[in-house]
Symmetry: D2
Subunit: 368 residues, 4 copies
């Protein structure tokens, strides 16, 4: 209710502030007997962690996950899996200058108005550090999805006005290798180079810039999702919009689809061997979802991230007494978050799909 | 869990199929002693109902709401308010041609794969007729919000490639009058005229077209929403994406914001009389929401609707046996849904804000 | 949240007041393709309806269920099943004398303090009439359970101090026939006769009396339930305690078990054919549940009902102005509710087990 | 959904196994600005911890709570409060003899059937060690309730067949002092002495015994709770039945009330100063709850605990292969749990009331 949980049957609850003792997550409802590959969880966290390249914040955190419960002899037991990630490189003093000032376009003012109290150090709970807990939970969801042959892939499709061309998505593993070969995490190497140079220039200018992430979910069976309020794309939208700095979401044809005619936009059905499970559509403007339910085609969506609010320039603001004042960014911050956020997008997508698969299972089984 | 409910404290659950006996909604958690103005509820339904103009479907439904419970002597009692809307103008025979065929870009195939059974008449549960129940519930939410001075306004900002210019939003009542003065429900009269002509031409062509809706929520106090997964804009995104045909959502600066720099995008704070409650920002790229919580400024968002899938042309498809075949649209359908959907967008926004206000109240009260 | 819903995956939401237009229920999450036998639903309602014998209230209601949605050609479609039961024999004038007085041990005072408004006619929402909606929903759950061979049986085990001896429960169908052969709904004919005479005498005295209901759930597979807060017996306890007038719940050895020693109370395990699924225990003090999870043995529990609060005698009370006054029972009321409540106990048990079975299914299926 | 969470607005989620790294709890929805008195939390844990007297298990655990998040400068911030309690005195070898055997009347068999895997060490998740996490969370709820003048008191009212007489409950602080003055935690000193001797004799006999706990909640304002499924006593019932070993629950007149007549059982209303808030009833068979909602009188209830299943005697059982075998209790176990469980009963009661108070607040506030 207080908004720190996500999912129904595969449910995660995160906790922790940027400069507290630890952040963490409880995963409740993970099916038993899943192999919990701790090295994989850590590898996922490493893709999100700060300090990994020159275009990310230089704050250093090892982001080491510790599993406290729910795993026995390497397998999930069906009981809650608690994971904590201790906080290490805290320089709380870096934040004393914002103790009673509200940073523009941050959550300082709104937290103050909501709670009447806030842990100002590093943004407290509003820090994107919270997303490390999501990545850990998403890694476990990915391990579950792998068993069912489901693949998730995201990459940086735009930084500022630099847009990547469409990439060949026929082999997602190959695309992943290309993406991981550059620090921008764009699957088009030429664009990646351009993005890195641009982000670096923005950083040197003490400024920040936004970007976009495009994603594909492959091999989701037809029939996953729900028809009314919990449409599969509505769940994905909520999941993505809950990531810090995201200002927009679209799936399939998205905003561009609103300019099309029905005769262009409709995805015509074709089948093989007169087998309903081998259906495909000629186009995929539906983005793999019709009426809120998966149709078996690739699920495609895109998210837009605003520029990071912390900049190294002086800005007008107010303080807790309601007085006007100025503030300048200090500390270590990202000039552009999208290359780290790619893994968060994947994690949230994995969580949505896993939860929906478990829901669908409750219909399909006649044996207990 | 099955996805037919929305909200936590102000919770609605809808039911009903397009060609069943009735559709309806239960509103659970409506605070007691709210004046339930039945004429207002009906007026809201009339704005959504079919057959209201030449650019909407000609299906005739009076959409008459009947309140079965939860209201006593004109006031809410705090118990569930059940509302039913009987179905009237059903021509189920119109649908016999789709009994075992899947209409392209409809929910026929996905429902079949999910449930193994479907009420094919009029699309059954996947019909946008379900949204009438949302409008009835949204009307009650609006009555609650009115008590708190909160206004919600939406209008058609684009049909196909025809985009309305920015409108002066200083007086939302005036804007509403302009919007209701044209059947396109666009608050810019000149653009409205253009839109109507275009939709009419598309309709004559047996085709359909998409569009966009822009919305403002005004006078939401600062501090409403939640910080992590249930960010206020994430709830709005889910609410809007759950409306039939919506393919995209953005708030504040939206997708365009991802092309900006932090130094342009940050909303600088100003205050009056050293009063935190009289804060305003110079710009509003944040769309009234920071860190998932309202900051007191206008909440602004936009949604993109794909073109209606039912067109009066022959199209390739498959049937329940997995065989390829063709299908042509029959029946009475909308050439463009956005002018009717405006009221659905407002209803869903009202539901989101009401639910969040009740949640916030649980923190603020020290008296029971 | 407002407490009008029960269950998670098989979720029911009831609505309606005693003297409003109708009461009803939405069942959300019913699996598709269940045969919805309307005659069975009505037969269940008939067992609960008022006016069925001389020992129940003489209020006449046909309690006719109308299904509005979610059923197509006799089968559930997976979408919400809405059922309404119109109110018929309302004599609202019977209640004008309680308009501003609080009946002792009724919900009048507490509703007034909670909501500041109440529909006083017939007790409004607090009337046990609401349980008709539960019985309709429970009937659908029973249809689902029947597919899985699960049987539920309850009967009146005590009225006042008249206690039935233990009955032979080896054949629940036979026991049901015995129970339905007497208006007390006690499975021991001799005790039933005594109960009926006693209730009739109490009724003639203008008084009321309490009683107990004992229940068995048979053929629940081992492994159903949850280990911590949602223990299977905790769910049953909540379900039973939510029935009007219930003041106590116990399962297995119950209160008497607290007087035993571990060496007497432990249920020793035996197996057949070295098959874990053919386990049985020598005794069943565990009541078929260990650690909150079913072990495959009969699930047994008992509930205690207080005497009905409405009596035909003058009693001391207060009015809405806080003044002391007196009140006398009018209208048509039950001298003892347990013989009608038997079917409510069965309905709630069916709802609990169905919900838990669907949850368990989400673990067991590897195919979607 | 998986049953490891309790509450809606004040929601706790526990995790952890008896012999894992730690157990713990997340409290989500705690209002901001509550003084979090860590010494009080620890004092509550100390009342539950093992090894505190000769009549409890000799297992030694300091049960030291560490707060990881949600508290800043001694106050709650409104964000999730995570508390962990590391496990210390683990002798996992003590449990190797049960690795593939099912202890009678334990959860070994049912966990195995549900999950197909179990952490057998110390009972894993089914261990009552999990309740330490509840006590920590309950302590925070008590701190919230204290602000509102609400008191909760429980004590051991019976051990085996030894029943305490009714105690004078006019001063709960005084009663608490008496209770804490004896290791049985019975508020009647003479009975306490008898209980201690009896438990000690049972322990020496290698056996165990059950008991009962009686509780009072005082100063809950009228109007708290919900009318239908989530009746206040239904929530209390679920809360209590979720505690390990509880087999029965009753409130107010309880099981005995089912033997009474309405004319005896009805609680007549009286008022002072014509003030509805100063109402009292002459008797309190309603146990402070009418129609599921508090009426301002003392809320009274009792719970029955079965004898601990682990006894130091050889017993018949089966193993994972379905073969019959025998097993003997080893390790360190409680001969009777009620004196430690008193604090768990209070904690669960505090959680129920706090959650309901927050729900009621959402109705009463017109300011945000």
């Amino acid at each position: 209710m207080a908004g720190n949980s996500f999912g129904d049957l595969f449910k995660i609850s995160t906790f922790g502030e940027s400069h507290g003792k630890a952040i963490g997550v409880i995963i409740d409802g993970c099916p038993p007997n899943i192999d919990i590959d701790e090295a994989f969880i850590q590898a996922e966290l490493d893709k999100r962690k700060p300090g990994q390249s020159k275009i990310t914040t230089q704050r250093k955190e090892s982001d080491t996950a510790q599993i406290l419960s729910g795993v026995f002899e390497g397998k999930s037991t069906g009981t809650p899996i608690a994971i904590i990630i201790p906080n290490e490189d805290q320089r709380s003093k870096d934040y004393s200058h914002i103790k009673d000032k509200f940073r523009p376009s941050h959550a300082d003012y709104t937290y103050h108005m909501k709670y009447g109290i806030r842990d100002y150090r590093g943004g407290g709970r509003s820090s994107a550090r919270e997303t490390a807990a999501r990545v850990a939970a998403g890694a476990i969801a990915k391990l579950y999805l792998k068993k069912h042959g489901i693949e998730i892939f995201a990459h940086v499709s735009a930084v500022g006005k630099i847009e990547a061309p469409n990439v060949d998505a026929s082999d997602l593993s190959a695309l992943l290798a290309i993406r991981e070969d550059n620090i921008a995490r764009c699957a088009d190497p030429a664009t990646a180079k351009e993005m890195i140079e641009f982000i670096d220039a923005v950083r040197k200018d003490g400024d920040t810039v936004g970007g976009k992430i495009a994603a594909i979910i492959r091999n989701v069976p037809a029939g996953i999702g729900a028809p009314v309020f919990d449409k599969l794309h509505a769940e994905l939208a909520k999941a993505m919009m809950s990531i810090n700095a995201v200002h927009g979401f679209e799936y399939g044809s998205g905003f561009a689809g609103s300019e099309m005619r029905g005769s262009e936009h409709n995805d015509l059905f074709f089948s093989e061997d007169q087998d309903l499970h081998k259906m495909h559509t000629a186009t995929n403007f539906s983005g793999g979802i019709q009426g809120g339910i998966s149709n078996g085609m690739d699920i495609t969506f895109r998210t837009a991230f605003k520029p990071v609010a912390t900049i190294m320039k002086e800005q007008q603001t107010i303080n807790e007494a309601g007085q006007e004042t100025t503030i300048s960014g200090k500390g270590r911050h990202d000039p552009c978050v999208v290359s780290r956020a790619v893994i968060i997008v994947e994690a949230m997508a994995a969580l949505v799909i896993t939860d929906q698969l478990l829901k669908q299972a409750s219909y399909n089984s006649d044996k207990f």
